[in-house]
């Protein structure tokens, strides 16, 4: 980290010297930041995000119409809240850095919002999904381009209602993650008002036996069982549903979108619904453009799932600085009025909490042992039917 800083400083000095040497037409230098997990278990996602943000800066610097020359300062939050607060403080305290695209991990993003607020440092979160990051406080400094589990559950409730299902039983794990899913799904379903929740069951994240809960659910005879939790107990619940002869649709969340779910269940996984924030990069409105430019840079790593969002976040920061100049207050002010702005991830609109409200959600159904996008599936076309599907 320190070394990166030194190299950047050295580079800056060299640049200053070069300027002094006499390039009279040189643009002003402006620093922008990026924070993500560059080491540790989720480093591939962090590095993909870093490369994508770097790409946004490079493309801007190559643009002759740009008013400023940008320099990217990169820091590593290691996906650890304590480290994240340190690097966030370091970055926010550097008055030369105008704004930043920050955090892939929810734990680090939520830990640092107060820091950014204290320093009046505008950030756009590019990967973390916990709603609290934007919704716990109303900080003008904090924004997010990717969706939250709220958007995911809106899409979920929407699909269930549109398919004509009337009754839903909810099982969720009792961590913040599962409770969040329960809360937002229940709200979304009630808002649409077509289907109702007939029972809610909290379960522990290590539970093995769900037969008692499922027998109660069987008595309630719902059309759909909604599950807010992660793969391991998702596998158990789906498998035990079959044991008890429950025919309801198994409607899950991003928590089970992994190959382990399909491997753990085999043919029983068929017809499970799942939802995820974001989309495969190729499906995004600007996905093709992004991938072409990204590949041209020959980075060592692919952009990963949220790379396009990191690009969009950085691009939005650069657009804003071009418009209002390198001033944190003006940048915050401008980011407070983002409505239908074009980006490679689609139109972006920030609500009063700085949350992108038109975030893209991908709907999945498991078909022949694969997560298939709902709209392209044989279930959507009517060739196959979910239990009780009209």
């Amino acid at each position: 980290m320190i070394r990166t800083g030194k190299i950047i400083t050295a580079g800056l000095m060299a640049a200053v010297l070069a300027l002094a040497a006499g390039d009279v037409n040189a643009k002003d230098k402006v620093k922008v930041g990026f924070i993500g997990p560059l080491t540790g278990g989720v480093a591939v996602n962090g590095i993909g995000g870093r490369n994508s943000a770097d790409l946004a800066v490079k493309l801007r610097n190559a643009d002759s119409k740009a008013k400023y020359e940008y320099e990217l300062v990169v820091l590593d939050d290691e996906c650890k809240p304590n480290v994240a607060v340190q690097v966030a403080t370091k970055m926010a305290a550097d008055k030369d850095i105008i704004a930043a695209a920050t955090h892939y991990c929810s734990a680090t993003a939520i830990a640092t919002v107060d820091t950014y607020h204290k320093f009046g440092f505008p950030v756009i979160v590019w990967g973390a999904v916990l709603p609290d990051i934007t919704y716990r406080n109303k900080y003008a400094e904090v924004h997010r381009v990717n969706g939250t589990m709220i958007n995911q559950n809106d899409a979920n409730a929407d699909l269930i209602s549109n398919l004509g299902y009337k009754t839903v039983a909810v099982i969720h794990d009792t961590t913040d993650y599962g409770k969040g899913h329960n809360e937002y799904f229940s709200k979304a379903l009630a808002k649409i008002g077509k289907a109702k929740i007939v029972g809610t069951f909290g379960v522990t994240a290590e539970q093995q036996d769900f037969t008692a809960e499922l027998t109660q659910i069987k008595a309630l005879n719902p059309d759909v069982i909604y599950f807010g939790g992660l793969t391991p107990i998702g596998v158990r619940i789906r498998s035990q549903m079959d044991k008890l002869g429950i025919k309801a649709v198994f409607d899950a969340t991003s928590g089970i979108v992994s190959d382990a779910y399909i491997q753990g269940l085999g043919p029983l996984a068929e017809g499970t619904l799942a939802f995820r924030e974001g989309a495969s990069t190729e499906k995004l409105p600007g996905g093709k453009f992004f991938m072409e430019k990204y590949n041209a840079q020959k980075y060592d790593n692919p952009p990963e799932a949220y790379g396009a969002f990191a690009y969009a976040a950085m691009d939005m920061i650069l657009n804003t600085i071009e418009k209002v100049g390198p001033d944190r207050k003006k940048v915050i002010d401008d980011l407070g009025h983002v409505i239908d702005r074009d980006s490679i991830v689609g139109k972006i609109t920030f609500d009063d909490h700085g949350q992108n409200t038109v975030a893209m959600i991908t709907k999945y159904v498991i078909q022949d042992g694969k997560f298939v996008e709902w709209d392209e599936s044989e279930y959507a076309s009517g060739k196959r039917k979910l239990p009780g599907q009209k």
């Binding site: 290590e206 036996d209 008692a212 027998t215 069987k218 008595a219 382990a260």
Partner: protein
């Protein structure tokens, strides 16, 4: 509540209780002969289940496809392997610590349990993910109203019952059982009567660990899914069941196992608040029972201790 649903709850509870009882019996056997608590017992269940799964994969690779043959071979391999593991644990970890405080045995087996669990997670191919366990029993089922009566559940209950009856027979009607009971009652006297103390202890650990493997396979067949964490939970519950039943008493362990399963089912069904609290409820009742009967429901009578 209609009759069908009630029957379903009873069935769920019986299946759970059978698995708990089989694990609890192991705890009580070990306590009987050596007065030790072997906390790695739950993880022996896990290793047993994974051994059976590996045996199944092996059989498949060799081209065997008969469910019954698969099941018998899997059970035999898992039970023998776990019996051997149990003997190794007894010989090299538990017996050398006999003169040390009981707490040391408890700690060392607790650590061993973590080693076993993590080994499964790290060394079994993709051991961190849930694994599908083959459904080898006939899957016929009858829908009786809201009760889904499954043949495989009945077979498992019957098999579990037979194993427990067999264990009773072994302990009460054979020479080996007499020797185990003699050691449990008084080690010194048993030795002077010519009983090979070490051999009896090892055999007891082999029996208890073989039962754990049986419980592990049953767990796999019942849920059709196993993962490296199953033993941790089963271990804690099996231990609690053995304690409420009365450590050292076989009947107590069985009673404790079914009682705990019953409490969990009641906790889910009858309590007004969400099922998230069913374990809180079950363990709270266990605490109350222990306060009421500190030595367990079936109190250990020295002469009958196994």
């Amino acid at each position: 509540m209609d009759v069908g649903l009630f029957a379903q709850y009873v069935m769920n509870g019986l299946m759970l209780g059978m698995m708990y009882a089989l694990v609890a019996v192991g705890f009580t056997l070990f306590f009987g002969v050596l007065d030790v608590i072997k906390f790695s017992h739950g993880d022996v269940v896990t290793v047993g289940a994974f051994t059976a799964l590996a045996a199944f994969a092996g059989l498949h690779a060799l081209g065997f496809n008969s469910p019954w043959l698969d099941l018998v071979v899997m059970l035999a391999i898992a039970m023998m392997a776990m019996a051997a593991l149990g003997m190794l644990i007894a010989r090299y970890l538990v017996m050398p610590l006999r003169s040390a405080p009981a707490l040391n045995t408890l700690l060392i087996t607790l650590m061993l349990g973590t080693v076993l669990r993590e080994s499964v997670r790290l060394f079994y191919p993709q051991g961190g993910n849930p694994k599908p366990f083959p459904a080898l029993l006939p899957r016929n089922s009858i829908d009786l109203g809201s009760f889904n009566l499954r043949l495989d559940n009945l077979l498992m209950l019957a098999a579990g019952g037979l194993v427990i009856v067999g264990l009773q027979f072994l302990l009460n009607r054979t020479k080996l059982g007499l020797a185990i009971r003699a050691v449990a009652q008084d080690e010194e006297t048993a030795r002077t009567m010519g009983i090979n103390f070490t051999a009896i202890v090892l055999i007891t650990f082999a029996i208890g660990s073989g039962l754990a493997a049986f419980a592990g396979v049953m767990n796999g067949l019942y849920y059709n899914e196993i993962n490296f964490g199953i033993g941790l939970y089963l271990g804690v519950i099996g231990f609690s069941a053995a304690i409420i039943g009365g450590l050292g008493s076989i009947y107590g362990a069985i009673l404790g196992g079914f009682l705990f399963a019953g409490l969990q089912t009641i906790g889910t069904v009858l309590l007004p608040f969400a099922s998230a609290y069913k374990d809180v409820f079950a363990f709270a009742v266990v605490i109350a029972i222990m306060a009421w009967r500190p030595t367990g429901l079936i109190q250990e009578k020295i002469s009958e201790r196994v």
